[in-house]
């Protein structure tokens, strides 16, 4: 019994005795967390504006990355390829609004959720059919080297991803708070019917928000693609973003960032220090259990809107 207790407590001693390594783990966790946040942001945007839990966000990330890589392989220069990918994602948003969302207005949330899973299958098949299923290397010129600062190893790509996430969140915050469309988006998020009644065009708003989610998917796709190559497993990062979502709250942009950081850091520390105790490979479920523990205290997530229940 005492041995088991000691084994559980030993990692704390390890943390104190090796601060440089701990900082390295911490930085790795923060970087990984921001990468999760990038994916989670796409979910939040769509959920905020349309109440749809878009399960296809992970595949949208894959699709964006596949399109970008496919274009670059055909000799299109990087800026043009990026612009074309953006165009494709915006077209995709139009198509989704017209084919999937518009006929399903006013359906229960679970039906819309299912429809996005159908979309998930469709895009997966379509992306692979259009661009091929083999693993591709994505290189848009982001440096991927590590350097040492005071004995702590730092990866340039991770720093770049962190910076991008920060810029993206700032842009989104300004977009939501300061522009006319952003205001309309917040109105729709608040109350569909009230927004409609004061003349906000719901269809346009949906196209806009799915386009923005598509653009966020491109950013996430570029970052993840540069890190681990463009392949099918990229779509599975959606599953990594879900605990971030419930931890931060479904309808909160800052929540996605903070949630991502908590999950990333918690997961890394858990994996490095306590993982060996239970045989490793805990990253699949640890984030979920962590998020679940938070939820039991705050059922709407850290930054989610307070759930007010009426009869």
């Amino acid at each position: 019994m005492t041995e088991a207790l000691l084994a559980v407590l030993r990692p704390f001693a390890d943390i104190v005795s090796g601060p440089a390594f701990f900082v390295e783990v911490l930085i790795g966790g923060i970087a990984a967390g921001l990468m999760y946040s990038l994916v989670a942001l796409g979910f939040v945007l769509i959920y905020k504006a349309s109440g749809v839990f878009n399960f296809a966000q992970g595949v949208m990330v894959l699709f964006a990355a596949l399109t970008l890589v496919g274009l670059m392989e055909r000799g299109v220069p990087v800026p043009l390829a990026l612009a074309l990918t953006m165009l494709v994602m915006i077209l995709l948003a139009f198509a989704i609004e017209r084919v999937v969302l518009r006929p399903l207005v006013n359906q229960p949330y679970i039906i819309l959720f299912m429809a996005t899973i159908g979309l998930n299958f469709f895009l997966e098949g379509f992306g692979e059919m259009a661009w091929g299923a083999n693993v591709k290397k994505l290189d848009v010129g982001i440096p991927d080297r590590s350097f040492m600062v005071k004995g702590v190893q730092i990866n340039q790509l991770e720093m770049f991803a962190a910076l991008t996430a920060a810029v993206l969140v700032t842009i989104l915050a300004v977009f939501f708070q300061r522009t006319r469309i952003g205001r309309a988006l917040r109105a729709v998020a608040d109350d569909h019917e009230a927004a409609l009644s004061i003349g906000i065009p719901l269809k346009t708003i949906w196209v806009v928000v799915w386009s923005v989610a598509g653009l966020v998917a491109i950013v996430a796709g570029v970052m993840w693609g540069a890190k681990s190559g463009v392949q099918f497993s990229l779509s599975l990062i959606a599953l990594k973003a879900l605990p971030v979502l419930i931890l931060g709250g479904f309808e909160s942009v800052p929540g996605a960032i903070v949630g991502g950081l908590i999950i990333g850091v918690g997961e890394k520390i858990g994996e490095v220090y306590w993982g060996p105790l239970v045989g490793g490979a805990i990253e699949n479920w640890f984030a979920y259990v962590l998020a679940l523990a938070f939820l039991l205290v705050r059922p709407q997530g850290l930054f989610g809107e307070k759930i007010i229940e009426r009869v």
Partner: protein, 357 residues
Amino acid sequence: MIYREAGQFKTTYGSDQAIFPILQDRIFVGLVLVAAALVPLVADEYWLQAILIPFLIYALAALGLNLLTGYAGQLSLGTGGFMAVGAYSAFKLTTAFPALNILVVFLLSGLIAAGVGLVFGVPSLRIKGFYLAVATLAAQFFLIWLFNKVAWFVNYAPSGTITAPPRTVLGVMVTGPQSSAGVRYFVALGFVVVFALVAKNLVRGRIGRSWMAIRDRDIAAEIIGVRPLQTKLLAFGVSSFYCGIAGAELVFLYLGSAETLAFDIGLSFLVLFMVIIGGLGSVLGSFLGAAFIMLVPIFLTNAPHTLGLNLPVALQKQMELMVFGGLIIFFLIVEPQGLARLWQITKEKLRLWPFPH
């Protein structure tokens, strides 16, 4: 004209409360059961093994999830995990007690799955909607990880797979490589018929009504005296019981041997699809949905051959994914309430036919 209840007077309380109060329904159900019993005589090995047995097993799982999601309103993505609990506990039970009747083993493993379901159902008291759905993913990933990591669950087999050992019931081989598909079909059929009846009775009684009250508006239900704790946990328990038996059957009657990959998140989504396509909150819908989701991929795989097209394998797989996804969206748009609703509409049409006005 054919489907009309005119002239059928109920003269006893018993007939008023019958599960199928209309004569035509009784005849129809009877015919289906007779047909199901006669199927092994005409169907060949391939049909039984590749289509009918998995259909019955998935129907049982869909029934279980439908009780939880369709009737009690708790969205769960942990079905695969609960089915894995059933499969692994059936394996452990039957290897530890070889003399124990395999049908009893199935029931016991269902009970173990129910226990695990109760544990993972506890957060539902505090967490609702999509937060709960994501939280149930914790069950899915944790359980699969557990069965992967702890070698005790697979009796320290180096391959990490569980294999159905040969077991007999009343002298007839039920599981194992030597058992005939016909016997396994009847076992699966027996389970699903009995538990469909149980479900049908559950949902029209006090328990089912309290589930529906919780689903429709849980606060209001609480105010009129439905206890959320017991009701939700019972839904999780019963649902996991069904899923556990289905999981045990999946390995023992269908796959023969399996590893955790067979119970990954894809299975959870598959069963959820069956429930939604079939119809949320409908026992019949669970069967229709299971049949649809089972048959579509088979149809899609064979369609290009029948049309004389010869597509590369990769392209065909991608086409299958696209058509499958497209079909799901199409069905949700055309009939969001599922195939069971289509059946209801047909019945109403038949009632008036041939004089629609």
